[in-house]
């Protein structure tokens, strides 16, 4: 009796489900980036001024920087456990296109870290004087930005898996690549607050996201194969 071959979509869903199940059993690890996010945004008023109208000037940028840093925190360990226990090796050998499996893993990671940051952003934004009118643009820009960062970070994490002090190296590699996201994302929020249409930068963010979505898995596969090949 020949067994039925799992479709790529079903395999990707299994990877997604697995990571969600694993995270559910260690939810404290999932909460850490979120707490870091809130702590970092709290630092800015303390370091500068409690005056909300002054904070509002840089509020969009601060929320964005904090979101990027918090996401990076969670990314370092993305592939570590799977490479160490040999699961990634089995994925490479599974006969399924590796890119899709890795994308599913990155998607799970985003749901567990990026999405909470997006949902939390109006709250931390309010602390920095951002008006309710800017919430929509803030959340949407962060949605695209954290999604792209998860993919970029996935590439970086795949390249640095097993390296000592990997998290510092990962930040050094990923942050320069994330600057465009920062520029367009925080600018979109400022434009919204000034009454201009943020469509331009939002569209650019979306374009970058889709580019990352299509090319990212290729780079991630290559990087994972390199780390497994030893």
């Amino acid at each position: 009796m020949t067994a039925v071959r799992t479709s790529t979509l079903a395999a990707a869903k299994l990877v997604f489900q697995r990571d969600m199940t694993l995270a559910w059993r260690r939810w404290d690890e999932v909460a850490q980036p979120l707490i870091f996010y809130v702590v970092v945004t709290t630092m800015f008023p303390l370091a500068t001024t409690p005056d909300l109208s002054a904070l509002r000037e840089i509020g969009g940028g601060v929320v964005w920087v904090a979101a990027l840093l918090a996401s990076l925190l969670a990314l370092e360990a993305l592939f570590r456990a799977d490479v160490e226990d040999g699961t990634t090796e089995q994925w490479v050998l599974s006969g399924q296109p590796l890119g899709y499996l890795l994308l599913a893993k990155v998607a799970a990671h985003w749901v567990l870290t990026g999405l909470p940051l997006v949902i939390m952003s109006p709250i931390v934004g309010t602390g920095l004087g951002l008006p309710t009118g800017a919430w929509g643009v803030l959340m949407f820009s962060l949605l695209l930005g954290t999604g792209t960062l998860s993919i970029l970070g996935g590439i970086g994490a795949a390249l640095t898996v097993g390296v000592r002090r990997g998290s510092v190296l990962l930040s050094l590699l990923v942050l320069p690549l994330a600057m465009p996201l920062l520029i367009f994302g925080s600018r979109a929020v400022s434009m919204q607050m000034d009454g201009d249409s943020p469509a331009g930068p939002l569209q650019l963010l979306a374009a970058i996201f889709f580019m990352a979505l299509s090319l990212g898995p290729i780079a991630m596969s290559a990087a994972i194969r390199i780390s497994v090949e030893n």
Partner: protein, 243 residues
């Protein structure tokens, strides 16, 4: 399809010899051109009516910036070739390019800073080009840091190759976004370090300097690459026989 002929082309002893004979030509030619361009730029070319003599540092700043980009592309292409066709020499070439490119980037930043001080009174301005160069410097440093973090040279080669390719795709995006960002507050000029006015007399030293820098690049890469080859092939027979 067998790529062995390609592999023979990239044979280390061959490359070592060829680079060894080419390097002095590059070296002397680049020295001559750089000196000529410097003299021309400092002495022969007219002073700018707006910026006076200070702008002459452009003759080093602009070529360095150009070379920093050029080197990154060469590095990425070499890395890509090494990754796809598994040619070690290509990886060695990419490794050789990195410090050279980083130096050009640093030179561009330093000359930009020196140029800016008398003009705007500060050592640093968040101008589009300088900011782009700074981010490019981070990319170079990240590449070199990644290479250094692996004990296994093969893994170092291949991982940094992936990074270089990801970087080279990002460089245009970074440039565009930084340009866009800097125009938001000064719609008039894209970069503060614009060439004052394009004049044939100014183009000549600029062109000479660029060619001089390219030849310097040829010399520096040849020398570094020979060093890389020696390091990588230290256990190989051809080296033991030649010694």
């Amino acid at each position: 399809m067998s790529w062995t002929w390609f592999h023979k082309l990239a044979s280390p002893p061959h490359a070592y010899r060829i680079l060894g004979s080419m390097a002095p030509w590059f070296g002397w030619a680049s020295l001559a051109l750089i000196l000529l361009a410097t003299w021309w730029g400092l002495v022969k070319a007219p002073a700018d009516y707006q910026q006076g003599d200070g702008f002459r540092i452009l003759y080093v700043h602009a070529p360095s910036a150009w070379m920093s980009m050029f080197t990154y592309v060469v590095m990425a292409v070499a890395a890509g070739v090494g990754l796809v066709w598994r040619i070690k020499l290509a990886h060695a070439a990419a490794a050789a390019c990195a410090p050279i490119g980083a130096s050009f980037t640093f030179l561009a930043l330093a000359t930009g800073s020196i140029w800016g001080k008398p003009m705007w009174g500060t050592w640093w301005v968040w101008d589009a080009r300088l900011t782009s160069e700074l981010l490019l410097l981070f990319l170079y440093l990240g590449y070199m840091a990644l290479r250094a973090s692996f004990d296994d040279p093969q893994r170092a080669d291949r991982a940094s190759a992936v990074l270089a390719l990801v970087g080279v795709i990002n460089v245009p995006i970074i440039h565009y976004s930084v340009n866009w960002w800097s125009t938001l507050h000064q719609p008039a000029s894209v970069t503060k370090f614009d060439k004052p006015s394009i004049d044939l007399a100014m183009l000549i030293p600029l062109f000479l300097m660029i060619v001089g820098f390219q030849l310097y690049f040829g010399w520096a890469v040849s020398r570094r690459l020979r060093g890389e080859i020696l390091r990588r092939e230290r256990n190989a027979n051809w080296l033991k026989e030649a010694a």
